[in-house]
Point group: C2
Chain length 297, copies 2
């Protein structure tokens, strides 16, 4: 079993031609749904009493919700605008609401999870929560600029506490104060992470393990609708795939990255989580085969 | 035989910790030397009477110089500064000098060249020069922002006149007025180019042919010294490899892109052309094997 701890949100997404208000979002939502195509996945998250029933139904279809806390108050909200090229996002507003005072705990039936994904939460919460699991075989975390800016020592401590870090290129540079991504990864590995995965958006990703570098391209798409959640979907697919294999050797981790690229590509094809909801195990496998064919030479 | 038409320059390169003045540079220099590892390569270019003998000797070691014109006056000079991350370049000064009035012609013994690379020259000159060759099997051109801004219709006409375009991502967007690189490539193919190769610097490249997209990563390097000429080295290696195979089928073009990535990686490891001068056929093959191993999953 896999446990995903992170945010469930109501997102407002603004692109050059569309505004969608209060759609289902959040790092754990994307990561959890992605992972659920590979393995039973439990969610640790909080929503407010205003969380729409239809979204609760979607989550329930894909995820075990024993760890989903419904608290009196408003759900965490994120409001962001993309530029015309869909490559730059500006945050208009973040309302923590019930997330602000959330004290996550691990439900009894999640404590045996061998795979744990800690999304871009407060690094202190991540570091503390991972200790509640009794039998972790592979843990992975993400982080964001906000935590790097406000709690860098805690981020480094969190990285020491997990097996793998998955992080954006710009955030990797900010965190490590290096320009070159290989140097960034080396620093994170020195801090104690066995694996480092640096996400480069449309340019794919770089996986690092000991002396090995595994660069991979993104799945090429002509029509991108909404990049929200692509990185979370990537991470969820990665750890979901690994959990389904119960194997975290380098060969499987490389394959996990390919599944990550593919789920990221489904995520960006529609608004919000719609791209993930429209996919299936069969469609994922078809696209992984296409990917393999695409990069062969 | 391969003919390369382009600039030979004296470059001033400024990085955060080094300034090198009047070093050997120019698109045709990088492309020609790169190509020469694969096939006999002739150069069409102009230099001034101030062009140092030691640089002439370097060119003569790698290239046939029947097409190199030495004109009374000063050699074309380019002066550029890189930012701390070596990803952004600012042009400080461009002095055309003898290049400004150069009227290129094809030497008799180059006219049978089956492979022709037209570097980022005036597009009208490129379009006119290609007609002087009698037996072209495969021609490829590059272009830059300056020509897109000042002679866009001529650039489009040039693209129609060649088999392949190799172009930077930002320039592809400028030229085609599209954001998505697949859309950019489709437009250039509609204009008449059979193959389009979009270079993405440290992120590798995308090759397009009919419905096929072949994305490839760059060879990962921890220490980059000077990105000058990386794209020209990429293009030169591509067409040099193809000329050596006398085969321009898709399978060989994909391999040509890999050789392009590898020669680009040698180019950026040292200042100016030093990275290319320090490499060899054996080192190139070793790195191509490493590349293959690196991307395998």
């Amino acid at each position: 079993m896999l446990t995903v701890f992170g945010s469930t949100a109501l997102d407002t997404i603004r692109t050059s031609n569309t505004v969608l208000k209060d759609v289902l979002g959040g790092a754990a939502t994307f990561a959890g749904i992605s992972a659920s195509f590979f393995v039973d996945t439990g969610l640790i998250a909080v929503v407010g009493s205003d969380f729409p029933k239809k979204y609760h139904k979607i989550l329930a279809k894909y995820l075990d919700l024993d760890g989903l806390v419904v608290k009196e108050g408003k759900t965490f909200r994120y409001d962001g605008s993309y530029d015309l090229t869909l490559t730059k996002r500006t945050t208009n507003k973040t309302e923590l609401n019930v997330l602000g005072s959330f004290k996550p705990t691990v439900p009894e039936n999640y404590k045996k999870s061998e795979f744990v994904y800690l999304a871009n939460n407060d690094p202190d919460q991540n570091t503390s929560l991972i200790k509640e699991f009794e039998n972790v075989k592979f843990s992975m975390c993400d982080t964001i600029e906000y935590w790097i800016a406000t709690k860098r020592p805690s981020v480094i401590k969190m990285i020491k506490a997990v097996d793998a870090v998955v992080i954006n290129d710009e955030e990797a540079k900010l965190l490590t104060k290096e320009h070159n991504l290989i140097k960034c990864a080396k620093k994170m590995m020195e801090w104690g992470s066995k694996y480092v995965i640096i996400k480069k958006g449309e340019h794919g990703s770089l996986l690092f393990f000991e002396d090995v570098i595994f660069p991979s391209v993104a799945f090429s798409l002509e029509d991108i609708v909404d990049p929200t959640g692509a990185g979370d979907s990537f991470a969820g697919a990665m750890i979901g795939y690994l959990a389904s294999k119960k194997d975290t050797g380098l060969a499987e981790i490389k394959k996990a990255v390919i599944y990550g690229n593919v789920l990221g590509s489904f995520a960006v094809e529609k608004f919000g989580v719609d791209g993930l909801l429209k996919t299936s195990k069969a469609k994922i496998q078809t696209r992984v085969d296409q990917y393999q064919n695409m990069v062969e030479f």
